[in-house]
Assembly symmetry: C2
Homo-oligomer: 319 residues x 2
């Protein structure tokens, strides 16, 4: 293995992915962990340290630095995770704590900003001057690129497309707002919409799944939709519609040349993206709507991990 | 008068303001014109030329350049006004046409981008690295600043906060989308909301105005609200609420240090801004919501004209 490896870690709302990544962005070893809701902040830090230790052992040679993407607003100046909607991390000085525990240089960023970095440097948004990213998982992570650089905002809080309200009097979001995009478009939203369909249509694929005691998750919906289940397809298409409303907003706000869609829900592929593209073509302002491409992530679920590794490489190169 | 004057022109949805502006941003002469809906594109160009000619004559000395802000998506590379929601300008090569007719260098930009430039260089957002602006007039104009520069997007279409949907299944907007912020928050929206109130409350200030044949405009609502009319105050406060929903989105998307609110509707002042600030404090993500100041424009209705003059100064300095 090359001597220039780093470890990238993507801490999602429900799971963790770590990887040993070389200078060419090849991934040599992957580590998965569950990051269940309800865990304490200290336990979460233990999970991260254990995953990095496993990756480090697998790496064999020297590891130059660790990059960590977390589903939090992260202040880039201090590496403090300020606010985390889906995990018990609040005002945690993650960069300094992890650097001390690991004995390695640590870069910390918002998980979706990390994914945006990966897609911008080497993925679906490569070479774009102006771009956006939405990762559809437990919630929605968001990233934004202006003049070829990821936008952090005044204190690292920029790019939260998931907490853009598209239904002002809509359902209460976990963040305290109402009608946020992620209440209508995310893995959790997919599961909720399907559970509602299951309750009202006991003879549907969902109804049978519910009766058999199977949890109705976003992943199950996507599987059933791929199998041709009409109710599942309807649920995914409806989510694609609202994704389109959200992306039309992104287009009107940013006029990007590319919008990258990732996260677990992108497993639905064109069943999700085709209706979203239709809504953008109908609703966003011309000519911006004709100047944008809507693409799936190149790195799939690994965008955040690979982006975190790139941040670690940048950090190691700067020292 | 100093020799270094330029002319700034702000073409709004219903009116035009031109001014002779010196290097210290002092305005030496102002020209007003109506730009009524329904006029043809050619007639609009005549109105602009006549206004500039009047300003030029008043300037006495040499005019170095003309800056023109228009309520359109403008491609900064070509100076073409691509799409205009409230005026008959579409795919007009404004920069070249006006330069030829005036015999002067001409800079063209979106009117709200021009206002953003004025507030950033010398106004309410002075010195901000990351900021946004919403001008509430016939519609909503929007501007966005990242790393101290106005964001144009891939082709000049960025910053259209007014066409950010906040009510996905809401009323049809003039742009073809549904539930855009400007359908709920603008001078037109204020007039519409008050006309509804007038119809249902004939004994209110509006009801009496309606009976007397007075047109219920945003300006009348603001005047009645300043006079203490409870229905007018309710209408303004409700608009302030939705303005807050929109600004909370801006805060979550951009994490700006300042959001500047301008346009005719800002005449309502704190009656509009106080409820907006409350919604942002309740609904936007922490800590971004605590890091943002929501301020009225420094230059009031003249932000766009002064910003256009600054663009003209920049153009003259670059030649």
């Amino acid at each position: 293995m090359s001597a220039g490896c780093v470890i990238g870690v993507d801490l999602g709302g429900t799971k963790l992915l770590a990887g040993v990544v070389d200078a060419d962005l090849n991934v040599h070893h992957r580590v998965f962990r569950h990051a269940r809701e309800g865990r304490s902040g200290d336990e979460l830090l233990d999970v991260i340290v254990a995953a990095v230790d496993e990756a480090r052992e697998a790496a064999g040679g020297e590891v130059r630095a660790v990059g960590l993407g977390v589903p939090s607003l992260v202040d880039p100046a201090t590496g403090v995770a300020n606010t985390t909607v889906h995990l018990p991390l609040r005002d945690v000085p993650l960069r300094d704590v992890m650097a001390e525990r690991l004995g390695l240089p640590v870069a910390v960023d918002n998980d979706a900003n990390a994914a945006m970095v990966a897609e911008l440097r080497a993925g679906a948004a490569r070479g774009a001057s102006c771009a956006a990213l939405l990762t559809l998982g437990t919630g929605i992570g968001g990233g934004m690129v202006v003049d070829g650089a990821v936008v952090r905002g005044a204190h690292g809080g920029a790019g939260e497309w998931g907490h853009m309200v598209i239904a002002a009097d809509g359902p209460l979001c976990t963040c305290g707002n109402r009608g946020c995009l992620e209440m209508l478009v995310s893995g959790s939203a997919l599961g909720r919409a399907a559970a509602e369909a299951a309750a009202s249509l006991p003879d549907s694929g969902f109804g049978r799944a519910l009766e058999a005691g199977t949890a109705i998750t976003g992943m199950l919906v996507t599987e059933l939709a791929h199998d041709g289940d009409p109710v599942a397809r309807d649920v995914v298409a409806r989510m694609g519609h609202y994704l389109g409303v959200g992306i039309a907003n992104v287009v009107n706000i940013l006029n990007p040349s590319v919008v990258v869609v990732g996260g677990g829900v992108i497993a639905a592929g064109e069943m999700l993206l085709a209706p979203a593209r239709r809504v953008v073509a109908e609703r966003a302002l011309a000519p911006s709507r004709d100047q944008v491409e809507i693409r799936a992530t190149r790195f799939g679920d690994a965008s955040g991990m690979i982006g975190a590794a790139i941040l670690a490489q940048d950090l190691a190169a700067s020292r």
